[in-house]
Symmetry: C2
Subunit: 204 residues, 2 copies
DNA sequence: CGAGGGGATCTAGCGGTGCTAGCTATTGGA
DNA sequence: TCCAATAGCTAGCACCGCTAGATCCCCTCG
């Protein structure tokens, strides 16, 4: 603590920390790549260790266990989803809601293993109010922004949850081959139509 | 084959087959109970064998592997869901759609492990057109029937898929603690409102 | 009634998993 | 130059899904 930060922080200690941080990220990247290439079942601590060219116990000096690695991958995935949603701007005549929905579903389709880690596998990522990862808040925030224009008199947060749930349901059931590909287009049209067009009388 | 069915079928052979069928069902029931009590991770072939009071290899004389056991549990779960949906009749002033939605979500909430085996864990249950289990068709059929009254001009099957997907998304995200319990009621109101009230202009 | 055959069942073990105790060897500081 | 801290590894534990091969029981037939 006292000996580390002299001379503007350019110390051996700092180099070590930097190398350690790089290896930390390397583990996450390799785990993610392996999962996307062969599925999470193929991500074993042995294979992971082999790919990062260290022995197994090194993984445990960075993460509490395999679950923690998956969680780290998931959180970075949320960041990527947030980025994708942010830059998903509607093309001419297209609603912002539709642009967001299509970006979301495409993300789930192209990165099924990553999506799985984020929203399917149960993890102890804290979703309660305290210390939710920023990446997660960002992603949800993008959905809120996409829903806002069609909110009408409705509760914005609850409506966004409905929107998100529907997309999530479609994404996971599609991934499991449980929905008919024939309806892919119609399904999205119906969902967007239902959520946005609805002429809401106030009452009830 | 020729020696088994004499005397109206009351033979030792038949008794054996009956006992075997009972044990088959016993395995399914124990697997399901264990999963619901401690989660699927706790369902190992060793524990399962111990609970049915046979050795491990007996399981493999009934099922091709652990996955096949989970699948059997899942299919019977579909039968139960179908039964629940069928008898979920709307109380006064309540729409049939709402009755079905509430029954569906309650099923998912009360039998999370069973629901997981049915719709979350990936299994090779054939969802394509050929040899889909009858229980599955029944359950989906109940959803179709619940959606039919609000269909309007919309494609019934696609609309049912949207309804199902939304419920599924809500069920799984809730189970993972990813939705705010505060919005439980509002969320369902919004979904049902969006799917049913929508005054649909024909075009587009 | 006794011997043989066939099927049902078990014991034991294989290769894999996540995870960790404890040894080794390198390396930075006095 | 020597020492101590520490980063990393080897080896192993308990468990997993699954199966080969031995064993035992029970039914059939002479």
């Amino acid at each position: 603590m006292s000996s580390g930060a002299r001379f503007g922080g350019v110390t051996i200690q700092n180099r070590r920390e930097r190398e350690r941080a790089e290896r930390h990220q390397l583990i996450i990247d390799v785990a993610r790549d392996l999962a996307e290439a062969e599925g999470w079942d193929a991500v074993t601590t042995r294979r992971l260790a082999e790919k990062v060219e260290y022995s197994q116990p090194v993984l445990y000096s960075h993460f509490k266990g395999k679950d923690a690695i998956v969680r780290a991958v998931a959180i970075q995935g949320c960041g990527e989803l947030a980025r994708l949603l942010r830059k998903a701007r509607p093309s001419r005549g297209e609603s912002r809601l539709r642009a967001a929905a299509e970006a979301y579903l495409e993300f789930a389709r192209r990165r099924p293993a990553l999506y799985d880690a984020m929203f399917v596998q149960q993890s102890d990522i804290p979703w309660g109010t305290d210390e939710v990862p920023q990446e997660l808040l960002d992603a949800f925030g993008e959905l809120v922004a996409a829903v806002e224009p069609v909110r009408g008199e409705r509760d914005l947060e609850a409506l966004t949850e409905v929107f998100w749930s529907s997309l999530h349901g479609i994404a996971t059931l599609m991934q499991g081959g449980r929905l008919r590909p024939v309806h892919d287009e119609t399904r999205l049209d119906l969902l967007l139509g239902a959520l946005s067009l609805a002429e809401h009388e106030d009452g009830l």
